[in-house]
């Protein structure tokens, strides 16, 4: 039985008192004094069941009572299949540059334009697709974890619109940088924590993996066996929407370190099979990143870079997302959940049932005590 445990194991010691109770019952049971019992009477002794059913029922009831105190528990395994679901993370640049107007005559900023495009994309997705949102500027923030709830996603997107004046929009807009590597890593971490139980990484394992990503490109990546055996990535994709410069590390943090290298992240995504799409609106792509995105002869392609002009309208963005939709393949996922089940109440009910049965048996003509 998986996950068997006892809530109060010390209560099992009460079982040691059972023989004492049986002996006491034997001594205190009702007896009819009779002048003489002679050996021939042995032929009238009741059968084993009739003679001992009282003790048997007492033992069972006592054992059930003790076990209901001990409260044994086990974990029920629930297997859920998710068919044809895609896991998509949308990372949206919320730096100050995204507040620029989309055109000279437009009152919409580039960020709003991107948000409209993302909203359209969310509406286009199927109901069973998992979609998560990450917004970033100098730092990355998880707006919404992977979810089926499109209403939630729309509400989260409204929070970061320039006109909403929400706290998140203000905080993210204050940061001037374009920390794409941190946002991408946050998306990957969310993927790793959402894997099935047997392949799911712990927080420590994810943090350990991040240490490897801090180094210079080309270092040997230590990918946990859980991820390797999971073979994820058939339906996982990270879509990065930005207008800033995409480079391995943010300039402001080069001196201090502590940020993952985007080239290393791309290498990791290649290794685990997560697709990576960059939509750069009038931005620049660093040569190292561009090179990392290029497929080599023996490696599968990791994704694409879409570079568009600053005047990109909603139709163009939707066209890009349609292309992404075609590129992705479906993925079958199985989620195994272990739910703890305690047996106190069933055992208590069993105790009362046995007591009732005992009373019924005692009232039967052949089994009653005279």
């Amino acid at each position: 039985m998986p996950g068997f445990e006892l809530q109060y194991p010390l209560a099992l010691l009460l079982l040691l008192l059972a023989p004492l109770f049986l002996v006491l019952r034997r001594h205190t049971r009702r007896k009819l004094p009779f002048p003489a019992i002679f050996p021939e009477m042995a032929s009238l002794r009741p059968s084993f069941w009739k003679r001992n059913y009282n003790g048997i029922f007492f033992s069972l009831v006592y054992a059930c009572m003790v076990l209901s105190l001990v409260n044994p528990g086990y974990s029920k395994e629930t297997v859920e299949d998710f068919i044809e679901s895609k896991w998509l993370f949308l990372a949206l640049d919320m730096s100050g540059s995204m507040k620029r107007p989309a055109s000279r005559f437009s009152d919409q900023s580039l960020g709003d334009l991107a948000l409209d495009g993302i909203t359209s994309f969310i509406d286009m997705r199927r109901d069973k697709d998992y979609i998560g949102l990450v917004a970033f500027s100098s730092y990355a923030k998880l707006l919404a974890p992977l979810t089926f709830d499109k209403e939630l996603l729309r509400a989260k997107l409204d929070l970061v619109r320039s006109k909403s004046h929400s706290r998140i929009a203000r905080e993210l807009g204050a940061g001037g940088g374009t920390n794409a590597s941190e946002a991408t890593w946050l998306c990957l971490s969310a993927f790793f924590s959402m894997l099935p139980e047997e392949n799911r990484l712990s927080v420590e394992q994810i943090a350990g993996m991040r240490e490897f990503l801090l180094g210079e490109p080309g270092a040997l990546l230590d990918i946990p066996q859980k991820i390797r055996h999971a073979t994820p990535g058939k339906g996982m994709a990270v879509i990065l929407f930005t207008d800033g410069r995409i480079e391995p590390t943010q300039r402001a943090h080069v001196q201090r370190g502590g940020l993952p290298n985007l080239v290393n992240i791309i290498t990791l995504m290649k290794a685990v099979g997560v697709r990576f799409y960059i939509i750069s609106v009038g931005g620049e792509i660093d040569a190292a990143v561009e090179k990392a995105m290029q497929p080599t002869t023996d490696e599968p392609t990791v994704g694409r870079i879409f570079v568009t002009s600053r005047g990109l309208d909603r139709e163009q963005i939707e066209e890009v997302y349609r292309e992404i939709d075609i590129l992705e393949t479906n993925r079958n996922l199985t989620r195994i959940t272990l739910q703890p089940r305690w047996t106190r109440w069933p055992l208590t009910l069993l105790t009362f049932g046995l007591m009732a049965l005992h009373l019924v048996l005692r009232s039967l003509q052949g089994l009653r005590k005279l």
Partner: protein, 287 residues
């Protein structure tokens, strides 16, 4: 205390007591019961000469008589634990008092022995006027014995040792091993045993015949040994059969050592008739 029953105590064999009484004794003496004739010997009283026999035979013959005697009634009453089941001891007391009264009324010495696993009270036979009072008092103050078992050997040994002859009545439920009685009794082998014994087998109704009980499980505890046994009373008929066989076995064991017995259930209304019948039949069966 007024005796509840009127018994006619009739010993089967002639008593051997030296004390004069209403019974013709075993030995010849100065009684009223004619024994026979014998030739006159010098020293015989002339008043005992049978003149008719002299006329027929031409020789002097004297008449001989049996000695007048009285029987020693020895009442052996069981007061073990099992006798306190139901009203058995009450009946035993009534029987003892009635028998003592019957014996003392006709000036026969009467004694009492209370026993369980040993002799607890011993009142030697006497025909004194206060003997009845002694017997009644002893019964009323019968020691509440903690001794459980019934043992017949100690009282019988005491009686054999202390009394040269007696007519003993054992009042008990006989829940004991009777196989050792043979070595204790002298009645079976002798034509006129010195110690003549009669058994009154006192039983409670449920020991005699269990009725009014339906199916069910019953745990019995032996009052003497403390042994417990669970019984399935769906076989009630079999249980009653076992009780009957036990009674018959006891009666056979007693008869085997020359002790006649009568079963007296506590609820019987004809106790007096049963006891008198037993005594009368014994006398009738005398050879």
């Amino acid at each position: 205390m007024k005796p509840p029953y009127r018994f006619d105590v009739l010993p089967k064999h002639p008593p051997r007591n030296d004390m004069a009484g209403d019974w013709a004794g075993l030995d010849k003496g100065t009684g009223y019961e004619f024994w026979g004739l014998r030739k006159y010997l010098p020293g015989d009283s002339w008043s005992r000469i049978d003149w008719k026999a002299c006329a027929r035979s031409g020789e002097l013959h004297v008449r001989e008589f049996l000695k007048d005697s009285a029987y020693n009634l020895m009442l052996l009453c069981d007061i073990s634990r099992s006798m306190h089941f139901g009203n058995k001891f009450g009946l035993a007391k009534d029987l003892t008092v009635s028998l003592a009264h019957a014996a003392l009324r006709s000036n026969n010495p009467c004694g009492l022995l209370l026993f369980a696993d040993k002799v607890l009270t011993w009142i030697p036979p006497s025909a004194a006027p206060r003997q009845f009072h002694h017997i009644v008092s002893a019964l009323q103050q019968a020691p509440s014995t903690k001794n459980r078992k019934t043992q017949l050997a100690p009282p019988l040994k005491l009686v054999m040792k202390r009394l040269s002859s007696c007519f003993g009545v054992i009042i008990s439920d006989f829940h004991t091993d009777l196989s050792s009685l043979k070595s204790l009794m002298d009645a079976a082998d002798q034509r006129f045993p010195a110690h003549e014994m009669v058994a009154l087998h006192v039983l409670e109704d449920s020991e005699y015949h269990l009725t009014g009980v339906k199916d069910g499980l019953l745990t019995l505890q032996d009052m003497e040994s403390g042994q417990q046994m669970a019984l399935d009373l769906s076989g009630l008929q079999e249980f009653n059969t076992l009780l009957r066989l036990k009674r018959e076995r006891t009666a056979r064991a007693l008869a085997g050592v020359g002790v006649d017995s009568a079963v007296l259930p506590t609820s019987a209304t004809d106790i007096q008739a049963r006891v008198n019948t037993l005594l009368a039949r014994r006398l009738a069966a005398r050879v």
